[in-house]
Amino acid sequence: MANVELNAVRKAYGTAAVIHGVTVDIRDGEFVTLVGPSGCGKSTLLRMIAGLEDISGGEIRIGGRTVNSVPPKERDIAMVFQNYALYPHMTVAENMGFSLKLKKAPKDVREAGVKRAAEILSLTKLLDRYPRELSGGQRQRVAMGRAIVRDPQVFLFDEPLSNLDAKLRVQMRTEIKELHQRLKTTTVYVTHDQVEAMTMADKIVVMHDGIVEQVGAPLELYNNPANMFVAGFIGSPAMNFLKGRCERGRFLLEDGSVLTLPAGLEHLSSGAVYGVRPEHLVRSDGGLALTVAVVEPTGAETQVIARHGSQSIVCIFRDSDLPQPGDIIRVRPDVSRVHVFSEQDGRRLS
């Protein structure tokens, strides 16, 4: 097992830079997710850790050793690919044992390694099957099995669940997390799904346009987003952003409605963005008046999409007293959980 250090890592194709200096420390045994919208550079970064992409600048260290020019097979890492990348013409056992075969490991060592991994993943009965005879979840497990067989210092996952249906995704999420708790191998996991990132990670790295927006524990990002991007990306449904001005300890919306500012911003006087999560809006007489547009009950809670002037606002209510489309409801933000962001650079001010 090992830690992974990224130090001012850059990647450019010709003049087009895709990663602009990423610095992240991943501790030994940690489960870290790289999350961000597509094109943010997270997969490229993972492939650079794997050694599948050259590093244009900076340094990557695994277990204290600089690996910039070390080929993948000598980095002591294993990777699970988005489409599993199983070898279609090999059985499950052959797939899992391929790396050992290439290392010219003796047959009994190979078999023992495959057997151990198969037991961990309950694949023992499927060892003679071919990938095409497996379900999506089973293929996913074989892909992980292939990684486990190599007993690497670091696991890399590249969006491993995105080809599965919703139900299986949740199940495999749990399995991967359990696996990590059992093997305690340092894991770097790339996903574009913030729910996956939140539920699985010890630490989340939020990326956007080739830079790291914020690094932190899941709830830290949820509670204290560094900027509007992280605030909007983490949490589902996304945070509501209301444009307006801070003036004399109050927040004025464009139509003149007034919202309470969190503590510490009494002296601020400038244009700003008021951020409040849907789940932090409560119905309250005398609150902000909203016209209900769409009501989406999901059972445990109800999502209400409403309008305030031209602004669309999403609220989540847990009570059973549902409004109807066209109703006027009044809501008040929970001020202790509200964030105010700079209008210029999106930094959090509160």
Partner: protein
């Protein structure tokens, strides 16, 4: 599956089925007649009125073909040229096709277009210059030279096909193997070749059929009797107008076509997929 124009009702199909059989008769009738003739005696073959079915079926014509002292040599030449040509085409086509699919480098476009352009140069236009060049360096009547020329005819399509097959293999599989510790040659040997085997089979089938059926290349560049193939031997009989025996010739036709027929029967799926590859644009 079906692009049916009439509705799918079974009895709506009867006219189509009848017409289909008419097409089959048009196509297979002449072949069947040749086959029937090959079992007739020399006399019956030229009887007037012609008989449809041999009245006394005989294998004599086939035995005569096999007993001919040059038959084995002609047959061996046919096998050697076509197998050799296809083997060579794969040997040079697989690396080029793989590189075209997986490497990016300056001049790749030019290289691939050059290869494509060579496929547009017809063999007939090169008869004179090639004959002249071979003659001047004393390489006429060389089996190896004929094999290489035949091979060059199928190399362009081999390269393009292999490139397309390799492109269809997800690159992640190679990444994965690379991380498993495989080098480039192990990746090709353990992964790419097994995975594109159907494609290779299609290319090889078409290549064998093309080269086996060649007459011109061998006839012009290896005119010596000892270097000729079955195809050349067959055409020479046609020229030998005086002694022509139609039943013997039809037996020869059947034997000369047999390997290709067997191949077609065994792998007609690959054959058709090879023919239609790239035919339909989405």
């Amino acid at each position: 599956m079906s692009a049916a124009i009439s509705s799918g009702r079974p009895n709506g199909r009867i006219p189509a089925i009848l017409l289909s059989f008419i097409f089959a008769v048009i196509v297979l009738g002449p072949v069947a007649w040749a086959l029937a003739t090959s079992f007739k005696t020399e006399v019956e073959a030229v009887a007037v009125p012609p008989t449809l079915w041999p009245s006394t079926a005989t294998l004599e014509n086939y035995l005569k073909v096999f007993r001919d002292q040059s038959f084995l040599r002609d047959f061996w030449n046919s096998v050697a040229y076509s197998v050799g040509a296809v083997a060579l085409a794969l040997l040079v086509g697989i690396p080029a096709g793989y590189a075209a699919a997986r490497f990016s480098f300056k001049g790749k476009r030019t290289l691939m277009l050059t290869i494509l352009a060579t496929s547009m140069v017809p063999g007939v236009a090169l008869l004179v210059p090639t004959f002249y060049l071979l003659d001047s360096i004393g390489l006429l009547n060389s089996g190896i030279v004929v094999t290489i020329i035949l091979s060059a005819r199928i190399i362009p399509q081999t390269v393009w096909f292999i490139a397309n097959f390799v492109e269809a293999v997800p690159v992640e599989i190679e990444d994965s193997a690379f991380m498993d510790g495989a080098n480039r040659f192990q990746i090709i040997w353990h992964l790419i070749l097994p995975l594109i085997r159907p494609g290779i089979a299609a290319v090889a089938t078409i290549g064998i059929v093309t080269t086996w059926n060649d007459y011109i290349t061998v006839a012009v560049f290896a005119p010596e009797v000892a270097k000729r193939t079955l195809q050349v031997a067959l055409v020479n009989q046609v020229f030998d107008a005086v002694g022509i025996s139609w039943s013997y010739m039809m037996a020869f036709v059947v034997i000369a076509s047999m390997p290709v027929i067997l191949m077609f029967g065994l792998v007609q799926k690959w054959f058709i997929s090879g023919l239609t590859a790239g035919a339909v644009k989405g």
